[in-house]
């Protein structure tokens, strides 16, 4: 008793966007980049009570090549910044990033010499979760929000990502430090 018995020998019309986004949003494979306290709450989100698998994101992949959602959970320190950049660059398109917690989003309470003041200085972020540490429900909510966001994308959005991304970071750079990022190495259009 499924869709085939209702439709019989028939066909369905839809759009590429609808099918692709439906598939993408319901099978996000996260790479949990848990560096600090938020990693524990992310673990709670994966464990028995909160159970992230209800939203199709329980297939945790530690290889960036196999993941399409990077969850940055925890403080990013200056030693870690090149690492997270590499991990993000190794991920295949389409990819999304959730920045979980105050530290990942803005540096949090650590306004110190060794802390990067927000992971968005290093990689582009789609969803920010506030809180120190956010509850697992907040992570699940962010996942749902990301699913909404994916639903609204068109497949063409991802055709020329390096350029789009560069624009995003250029805009951010020029707003905050007034510096020119046009000579960004290794990213040609």
């Amino acid at each position: 008793m499924g869709i085939e018995t209702i439709g019989g020998d028939s066909f369905v019309t839809t759009t590429i966007n609808a099918v692709a986004n439906w598939g993408r949003k319901n099978s996000l494979w996260p790479l949990p980049f848990g560096t600090a306290c938020c990693g524990i709450e992310m673990m709670s989100g994966l464990a028995s009570r909160f159970d992230i698998s209800r939203f199709g994101a329980e297939v945790v992949r530690f290889s960036p090549r196999q993941a399409d959602l990077l969850i940055v959970a925890g403080t990013i320190c200056i030693k870690m910044a090149p690492v997270i950049r590499t991990v993000w660059e190794q991920m295949m398109e389409p990819k999304w990033v959730i920045s979980m917690g105050a530290c990942a989003s803005s540096g949090g309470i650590y306004n110190t010499y060794s802390t990067v003041q927000g992971v968005d200085h290093v990689i582009p972020v789609d969803i920010y979760i506030p809180g120190c540490a956010p509850r697992p429900e907040a992570l699940l909510d962010a996942l749902l929000k990301l699913q909404d966001k994916i639903k609204k994308e068109t497949v063409l959005d991802r055709r020329n990502v390096p350029a789009a991304e560069r624009k995003r970071i250029m805009k951010k750079g020029s707003r905050e430090s007034g510096e020119d990022y046009t000579a960004w190495p290794g990213k040609s259009e």
């Binding site: 980049f33 560096t35 306290c37 709450e41 709670s44 009570r49 509850r135």
Partner: protein
């Protein structure tokens, strides 16, 4: 750390350098080990830390004593209340104040519940790393129950910031005792389940017994404390040897291992959970009545309704908020038995509201430096099991 190219060229060609971490499924967040392999045997290992160095000690030189409290939450974030209590007691030692019996007893109960919560995670994750997912899901549910109690009590799930200099932020809620008792009723069964899944599991025993061995002399020499030291056969427990919070009034045993391998650490942790339950069971009966906070307007915030109505209390409130507490000139070391071992706080005060130097001795720091000694000569697959059994928490390792 950069791998030395010259050294690589000079090496025999059958050695391979492998980078474990900092992004690795079983490296517990932000640890990194550079290992030199001959086949699958590790010949040389160099741990590299600092990937979560957040400058906590520097930051605390710029914060008043009460403002440092939230930073201590984020040391060992698996059992944050123990760090809170350790730090607050160090400040109280410097100020020379004694908290009320009710606050002492409450702190003791919270410490022991935190210890249970910490050990459940350690044992569960260690099993996950070695390949057994089920024990983790069983035992993690119990941790959630402890979380629920703490959340009701403090308002937060992970970072509590609950104690204050001279007492606690709030008294216990009605029904706290019953909920703790209900947890104590319910916890032995999952603990038994966990044991029945692991203790005689052939795979678990083969992967853990005789792996990651450290002798008692080496453990002492490296500065091991806590379950890892006791598993090596040294019965050093600060709760018994230098009692604080009234541990001397309670009846508990200090479990000791013999071999100092992963299996012994696992057994010690399981038994410590039992002993902690035992302590909580004794302590929850007859929590002393009376006030929870000390009655000293120079140290503890007055009640809010008095602040709104009385001039003097308003001034005290203002003074504490603006200037914090001001310990005398001097230096104090206070250490507690945290879940991983001796958590020491060294405070050097020059007078004034901020410490001149606050040093945190995280137990993981000393333990992790012996990691190469444990893994050299072993298979690469053992690294993960050994690391899990040491329970390295990056927050207190790198601070």
């Amino acid at each position: 750390m950069r791998v030395d190219v010259e050294q690589q060229e000079g090496m025999p060609s059958d050695r391979m350098v492998l980078n474990l971490g900092p992004s690795h499924p079983a490296m517990h967040g932000t640890l990194r080990v550079v290992v030199e392999l001959e086949g699958e045997i590790i010949r040389k290992a160099t741990p590299e830390i600092g990937y979560l160095h957040r400058g906590m000690e520097k930051l605390s030189e710029h914060r008043t004593y009460p403002q440092i409290l939230p930073l201590t939450d984020r040391l060992n974030y698996v059992s944050a209340l123990m760090n809170n209590i350790g730090y607050i007691m160090a400040v109280e030692k410097l100020l020379g104040i004694e908290v009320t019996p009710r606050a002492q007893r409450l702190r003791l109960i919270l410490c022991e519940l935190s210890r249970i919560a910490d050990h459940t995670v350690c044992v569960g994750i260690n099993a996950v790393d070695i390949g057994a997912m089920t024990p983790f899901l069983y035992i993690y549910h119990q941790r959630e129950i402890i979380y629920d109690i703490f959340e009701k009590l403090t308002g937060a799930r992970l970072h509590y910031t609950y104690p204050r200099v001279g007492g606690m932020a709030a008294d216990i809620y009605p029904g706290f005792e019953d909920e703790v008792k209900a947890f104590l009723e319910g916890f032995p069964k999952p603990l038994e389940d966990l044991e029945s899944l692991l203790s005689r599991n052939r795979i678990w025993v083969d992967r853990t017994r005789g792996v990651g061995v450290i002798s008692a002399e080496d453990a002492l020499d490296y500065g091991f404390t806590g379950p890892c030291l006791r598993a090596a056969g040294v019965p050093y427990d600060i709760r018994r040897d230098r009692p604080y919070l009234g541990y001397e009034d309670f009846d508990f045993k200090v479990p000791v291992g013999t071999n100092g391998d992963i299996y012994d650490r696992y057994l010690v942790r399981i038994e410590e959970m039992r002993q902690s339950m035992n302590i909580v069971r004794q302590a929850i009966e007859g929590i002393p009545e009376g006030p929870i906070n000390i009655d000293d307007p120079k140290l503890f915030l007055p009640e809010k309704k008095l602040v709104y109505t009385q001039m003097e209390e308003l001034i005290h409130h203002f003074k504490i908020i603006m200037h914090g507490v001001q310990p005398p000139k001097g230096e104090a070391w206070f250490s507690t038995e945290a879940a991983n071992g001796e958590l020491g706080f060294y405070i050097a005060s020059e007078g004034g509201p901020k410490p001149d130097r606050l040093h945190i001795r995280g137990p993981c720091f000393a333990i992790y430096q012996a990691f190469p000694k444990m893994i050299e000569g072993r298979f690469i697959a053992d690294v993960i099991g050994i690391l899990g059994s040491l329970n390295i928490i990056a927050g207190e390792l790198d601070r």
